[in-house]
């Protein structure tokens, strides 16, 4: 069998990039011990068979309509999120470390939000500059004094993690408003099981199927009424939203109704949904709408997506909102550098997971540094997601850099900068053979009465050669993430 022919071992000729950590192969192109067995199975499968199975996977996604929508695209409608059939694996040791780190981090963020909308001790004691905090667009003063049940602000967190060349896993950013992607985790796993039943059986991968059940449990646990009678709904902006598939999917898997703002109304500070049998009380809302559009009485008056009076009902404690209103101050990228401080302040612990060095452009010195080195840094908007508002210095044109610099000067509080991290890579199908492509990782953490980390998560991959951008809206794809279970169990 020729090395570079259309058939042959799947990983034939695979070469990791110099100075970059590869998730599957070490620097000598040998498979890492935890996954050597899996690599052998894939190799034996061969390129031709792999191609055939990729076709089956693609067909399954199309048939199932497992899509997302892209705003910038001319067609503007549904696209299949490209799925690469080579999984990304995480060793049991790495997993233990991640799990502990995530749990700690989410605990600290919850306590921060409680404090931020309560006594603001962390500000009073000067751990976070008050001016920086108050200028956050995510801080909603209207919510001060409103206490969600059990102090849970972050029922669902999606925390992005990357790996440095040294092998160290670090947190890149937090997503605690409406983190998305878990439906792809579940859909990807379903497809993987269908396409690779044998490999799967051998590889001992932690299952992910209990996510919807765990999420539902957390929602019910934080309900204002008796658990057995709790009515929980998923609130979506509608079928034209880019993440609509996920809203629908989770509603179905949790056995909840999927509602739009127009289906709900508030009467005497209680939320009701319009049903064919009359109004039915709603106790918990898993909301996938931005805070700004949630309630035209309090926030954007022009919003057609929200429910007038919802904030009143929420403030009275008559409805639980997951995630809580006002979480944006917690995933503001200019506040992110203070999360280790939150861990120390609220938990009296040292952070288990490190972060990426960050320059806060609101600070004069940091801003000057950023503007001087804008062509080598990654500059980001503090409150956008999906990769929008981000410029990769080394990959940008002079014009793009000039535009970004102008934006930073016009609104310094709105930007941060970070050094470009050489993201780890994972073997990915690149048309004719496998090649290293950059990946990140987003685990999902659910908090109700306690915190649970999904043993899996979304690995996003930059499909283009040389690209560092993994977002779905900007040409990224995804891989199934395998948390390998300890053999000695």
């Amino acid at each position: 069998m020729s090395r570079n022919g259309t058939n042959g071992p799947l990983f034939a000729g695979y070469e990791p990039l110099a100075g970059v950590y590869d998730e599957i192969f070490d620097a000598d192109a040998r498979p890492r011990p935890d996954i050597a067995g899996v690599v052998r199975m894939f190799d034996a499968l061969g390129k031709a068979e792999f191609r055939a199975r990729q076709k089956i996977a693609d067909h399954t996604f199309r048939k199932g309509g497992i899509t997302f929508s892209v705003y910038a695209d001319s067609q503007g409608v549904e696209k299949i999120f490209p799925f690469d059939l080579i999984p990304r694996t995480i060793s049991p040791q790495d997993w233990k470390h991640l799990q502990a780190g995530m749990t700690q981090r989410v605990r600290a963020l919850n306590m921060f939000l409680c404090d931020a909308y309560g006594d603001q001790r962390i500000l009073a004691e000067g751990k976070i500059p008050r001016w920086l905090f108050e200028q956050s667009r995510g801080y909603l003063p209207e919510m001060r004094g409103v206490k969600p049940r059990f102090g849970v602000y972050v029922h669902v967190a999606g925390i992005d993690v990357i790996r440095r060349p040294s092998g160290e896993l670090v947190v890149l950013e937090d997503n605690i408003r409406t983190p998305s992607g878990v439906s792809y985790v579940l859909a990807n796993r379903m497809v993987m099981k269908r396409v690779y039943p044998t490999v799967f059986a051998q590889a001992r991968v932690a299952p992910v199927d209990e996510y919807p059940m765990r999420l539902r449990e957390a929602l019910v646990a934080t309900s204002p009424v008796q658990h057995a009678e709790t009515a929980a709904v998923v609130l979506t902006p509608g079928a034209y939203n880019s993440a609509y598939f996920e809203h629908s999917f989770l509603a179905r898997m949790m056995g909840c109704e999927l509602v739009e703002g127009q289906d709900l109304f508030v009467h005497q500070d209680t939320v009701y949904v319009k049903t064919t049998r009359g109004p039915k009380r709603v106790d918990v809302i898993y909301k996938r709408i931005d805070d700004a559009f949630l309630d035209p009485e309090v926030f954007r008056k022009d919003s057609m997506l929200g429910v007038p009076g919802l904030v009143r009902a929420y403030a009275k404690g008559n409805v639980t909102l997951a995630n809580a209103i006002g979480n944006g101050v917690g995933d503001d990228k200019a506040i992110y550098p203070f999360v280790p401080e939150m861990i120390r302040f609220y938990l009296s612990e040292e952070p288990i997971l490190a972060q990426v060095e960050t320059y806060i452009c609101a600070n004069e010195a940091d801003r000057a540094y950023t503007l001087k080195h804008i062509d080598t840094l990654v500059t980001k908007s503090v409150d956008e997601s999906g990769g929008y508002g981000m410029v990769l210095g080394p990959a940008a044109s002079k014009a793009q850099l000039a535009e970004q610099a102008a934006r930073i000067r016009a609104n310094p509080r709105g930007y941060i900068a970070q050094p470009l991290v050489e993201l780890s890579t994972c073997p990915t199908w690149a048309g004719e053979s496998t090649a290293p492509r950059r990946v990140d990782y987003r685990p999902f953490i659910v908090t109700g009465k306690s915190t649970w980390v999904l043993p899996g998560g979304l690995t996003r991959v930059a499909l283009t050669d040389g690209s560092y951008v993994v977002n779905s809206s900007q040409g990224g794809g995804s891989k199934d993430t395998w948390i390998l279970e300890d053999v000695a169990r």
């Binding site: 199309r62 309509g65 009678e229 009515a231 079928a239 509603a251 739009e260 127009q262 049903t275 009380r281």
Partner: protein
């Protein structure tokens, strides 16, 4: 169930029913015009009328083009400007399904999604060009599969009731419209002689409503009045107007019984019951005496009225200040907020 979602269930099935009826009509007529010499204006124009699309077609293509079967079929099958074309209606069925994915079964969604992809992506178009008859068979199969899956995988609760209600009311209207237009076109009077060409027309009409075999099984003489009577009044035939209205009323009664006491009452069920009370005692003789066109118009309009009333009663209800929730309030005040 959520009011808006009830509407989606209702409309999803109406659209699928519309697709099936259109495909059947066009397929039957395709064979029919090869057998029978009809004036140009009568060969394809009636189908534009049945779909309510004659004015728009004339505007887009000019009145003369209605003589051209290819142009009419193209318009009623593929044109996205035509709200009732097969492609458009299928697209709307699928869009409704997409909006209520969590309500319908996975198989139902996949069947519609696959059908829509097939239509959009070229293989359907190739089949349409190469083998028109098989193409329409496939379209009908899509609808039959969808309804079959629905009947066998959906919990028989409210969503199911609204789905069947939509399908049945659409079907009643379709049968009524096809009969009205075709009967008018053939222009028969009671008791006139049947020629071979006219027999072919009645057979084609029966086939358009999937009534060919059922009608023959009942051993009735093949005449205009018999066919019309069968299509309107025969309760044993699943596509007759009477059958569809009666079954629709059963579903609407179930829905109504489970519903809440509405201020001012609801209008859909009374409206439908009144229509059934009107149609049930009719005979074809009486209908023809009063004028088939007038009677069918009345029935079709009343059916449309019922659909509007269903919308007001269930899909877009107004809840005034007197809110009486469907479940009892059991607020647990015991747990103090953290």
């Amino acid at each position: 169930m959520i009011s808006r979602v009830a509407g989606n269930c209702f409309w999803m099935h109406r659209y699928v029913e519309r697709v099936e009826n259109t495909a059947r009509m066009l397929q039957v007529n395709g064979a029919f015009v090869l057998d029978v010499q009809l004036p140009d204006a009568q060969r394809w124009r009636p189908f534009l009328i049945v779909a309510g699309e004659q004015p728009r077609f004339d505007e887009l293509f000019g009145a003369g083009k209605a003589h051209d079967g290819e142009v009419v079929q193209e318009y009623l099958t593929w044109d996205e400007r035509c709200p009732s074309s097969i492609l458009t209606a299928l697209g709307w069925a699928r869009e409704n399904a997409r909006t209520i994915r969590e309500t319908i079964s996975l198989e139902m969604w996949e069947s519609l999604n696959e059908a829509w992809l097939w239509m959009k992506e070229g293989s359907a178009r190739k089949l349409y060009q190469r083998d028109r008859h098989t193409f329409y068979n496939r379209v009908k199969d899509i609808c039959l599969l969808f309804n079959g899956i629905c009947h066998n995988t959906i919990l028989n609760a409210e969503p199911f009731d609204f789905m069947r209600l939509g399908m049945l009311l659409e079907r009643a209207g379709q049968t009524g419209r096809i009969l009205d237009v075709k009967y008018h076109t053939f222009g028969r009077e009671q008791g006139a002689d049947e020629t071979a060409g006219e027999v072919a027309q009645w057979l084609a009409l029966l086939r358009s409503c999937a009534a060919f075999d059922p009608f023959l099984k009942l051993n009735r003489p093949l005449s205009g009045p018999e066919v019309a009577g069968f299509l309107i009044l025969e309760d044993a035939f699943p596509r007759s107007v009477m059958h569809c209205l009666a079954r629709a009323a059963e579903f609407l009664e179930r829905i109504d019984a489970g519903s809440y006491p509405a201020a001012g009452g609801r209008r859909a069920l009374p409206g439908l019951s009144a229509l059934i009370a009107y149609v049930k005692p009719l005979t074809i003789g009486a209908i023809l005496e009063r004028g088939l066109h007038a009677e069918l118009t009345h029935i079709i309009d009343a059916t449309a009225g019922v659909c509007h009333a269903i919308h007001a009663d269930y899909f877009d209800p107004v809840f005034d200040g007197a809110v009486r929730p469907a479940q009892s309030q059991v607020q647990s005040q015991g747990e103090a907020p953290a």
